[in-house]
Symmetry: D2
Subunit: 258 residues, 4 copies
């Protein structure tokens, strides 16, 4: 069950976002229920509010005992993302950064060009970059060349809850990058979506809306944690091959164990 | 989390088959790992082998402390199934019967006609019938008229591991029979398949090949148990609605908790 | 391209329904644009209106030069369907009958039990029965035993426009009944749905709502006719096998024709 | 039915590749059966063979009376693609170029970075660029900025015959670029795949393997032409909306036309 990101061992394969919860108390309970060891925090949001709210939020994260992965949500260019990452390093005292460079405002589509540019510069500046990207194989290769040791492809656009839009593309990405952690980030809506991603061999799941927007966020956080564990365990257990036509699972005569 | 079949409360929503395991020891470990409270046993198989093997198998079931649900696997007519059910009642001292009437040998396709006939007769004879059926709405209504208080539609043909072949049909079945337990029986290959069935609102999953035929049956048994719990919890937690186009999960300005 | 139903050669593999058109003129134009040689007519509807409307409708069908396949839409029992078929034979002077026995009012789900009973009786009475059924393999076998030499499984419930809900089941039905005409009846919404059914090896398509309810019914009638011809031609032409990973379609060096 | 690429009106929405046919005669017959007005030719292949074979191939294209769209298949960098495009302009006396820059050898995955660079330079040099790209929204925007007035996203990797791997992504691309021609290029295996792409609102289809590799390439060429026409006509005719639950297509009482 070993899983590590940039040399840091993590017990849970679920990474949780911190936006959009009904209240800080629900967020805290959801994080606990999820067993997530890493939560991602929007630097722009947290530095955009009142100082008192920010302090309470940071105190909350401290109490939860989780590693903070700051993100550059809301950045629409490499420049913005780099500046935001630098601010994040100061505030959160970490060189980890979830790199988001948005290339299209409606769908929050990752910008492959901006991502590669920002990743290169941030890596050179000592950051550990976890890019939110698509399943594009060529962009993936460039991001690795730029120093990324983890990739975080989307399942579907942020907040859609559609699951895995392009299973073929995700399988190809996994097949071409067997040697680094790959985390499906965004688009997960249901526990079965998360399990399916893990069954494809992905190493972890980052999600936010599916939990924060659920009727009962705390229950959904636990459901997602179970599903991710189930999917990973299923992947490792060696599933039966799919058969086209039915075969009896129950031999009629004779006992198998004698 | 209440779940009951014919008035019997069950802690686990997973029902496990007992065929095709590499050894009795693996079967026993898989049952334990699955936390299943009910296992299904083929009457024809267990009465077709040597008496010593049979006794050891029954002893094993006794040690596991699970409820036995005998099944009529291998029966191709209502007559055969009824006779097999009667034998089952004597051997296993239970009035529960998983009713299989096979209408097509290659795919082990349930026979709607034979099922309804056998269900009517068995119910009149005091049995508690759990029919292995398809998602057909009309057959379902007839089976209920015949006294069945639980239905067990397939996801896909037995042993195929394809998951849910007809999601629309299964949703319709659930919608038309909200008031009785519905268990997806057969076709499950991966934990995500089981979770997806539970997210549709099904009450439980019966599976066999997916566990018995896995590379590591014990690990897969646990994976399935987790997935079923995840899917049910997700269903109850109220998932986010699927959106067609992306929406930001991270508001850029302002903190929500102040 | 030979295609025959009960010994009658048909030039077109499209059978068209006659309900729900904006006007008789549009119906007539749609039938012509579709090149359909057979149209299906609801006996109950046509005998339920004013005599003058009925006569005009029959005159219209006569002008179109198409074979009329009367149907038992709206019948909820074998009894009703049999009586309706007998009325149809008198009115339309044909022994062909599209047999509908509805088992569930909301979804217009075919009733396998009522279908088999009515088919048996109607065949004995000299009818040529074309049953609207599901993809159920066992029901199909019973319908053939009852004398049906054509089966018409649904793609999806009537009027839903969803296409093929259970591709696996339809493939299995085709594989188990290679020797008789199978027509997908109901559920088609788009030309690609019709083409996909033909690519599975089905012999024809019966549809109504997809054309009658389209923005431009006449244009859609032609589109469906083209799609059915395309799907059939593609099936017969021997499609390339699907490959999992990409292969170059353009060898870089050397010309293949020398 | 107006369809134009860079100001040139085209009667057919099918563009056909010229590689991999069993013989030049079959290629010629397939082009005729397809009614394609544009065929694409690999510059590298045609300049890599013997001069006599090349001349015969060019003579064949001349006889067919089709517009030649040279392509840069086999180019793995912007440099190579630009040089190949320049050679194409001399040989084929056209400023149209189907731009392929391959970023990953196994899957022939388009390279977004190389594409944008080459498109910019080729446009500045007077070319009319038709780039073979993915459904990536950001790359699409950059390609338009680089001067492309047509985009040709893949359905699936070249030669796989899988159809449309990412329907959601293709829909989003169409929605974000309503004002230019979009042609699905690669991955089509069956007529229904081509029809489905047209139903999404795409303007045309470019395919090669599906026809050249079919059992009967000429028959498949015609099937694809029909399917594309069907899909387009269906799109324009205004399909019925998909319904979740069934609705009757045949009102039981009353005739609608009186």
């Amino acid at each position: 069950m070993g899983f590590s990101l940039y040399g840091v061992e993590l017990a849970s394969r679920l990474l949780l976002g911190t936006a959009q919860y009904p209240s800080p108390a629900v967020l805290a309970d959801a994080v606990r229920a999820s067993s997530a060891g890493v939560v991602t925090v929007s630097v722009r949001r947290e530095t955009g509010g009142a100082a008192s709210g920010q302090q309470r939020f940071f105190a909350l994260l401290g109490e939860l005992g989780v590693r903070v992965l700051p993100n550059t949500a809301g950045c629409h260019s490499a420049r913005e993302a780099i500046a935001t990452a630098q601010m994040a390093r100061e505030i959160f005292e970490t060189d980890w950064i979830k790199l988001e460079v948005i290339g299209e405002a409606d769908t929050l589509h990752p910008d492959p060009f901006g991502l590669v540019e920002a990743a290169r510069e941030l890596t050179a500046d000592g950051f550990r970059v976890l890019p939110y990207c698509t399943e594009d194989l060529v962009t993936a290769a460039h991001l690795r060349d730029a120093g990324c040791e983890v990739l975080m492809p989307w399942g579907a656009p942020i907040g859609t809850g559609r699951g895995l839009n392009n299973v073929y593309g995700l399988r190809a990405l996994r097949a071409h990058h067997p040697d680094i952690p790959l985390i499906v980030d965004a688009g997960i809506g249901l526990p079965s979506h998360a399990a399916a991603a893990m069954e494809l061999g992905f190493d972890g799941i980052l999600l936010n809306t599916a939990v924060a927007g659920a009727g009962d966020p705390v229950a959904m956080a636990r459901a997602m944690a179970l599903a991710i564990e189930a999917g990973r365990a299923g992947f490792e257990a060696g599933p039966v091959p799919m058969r086209d036509m039915a075969a009896p699972s129950t031999p009629v005569l004779g006992t198998p164990f004698q």
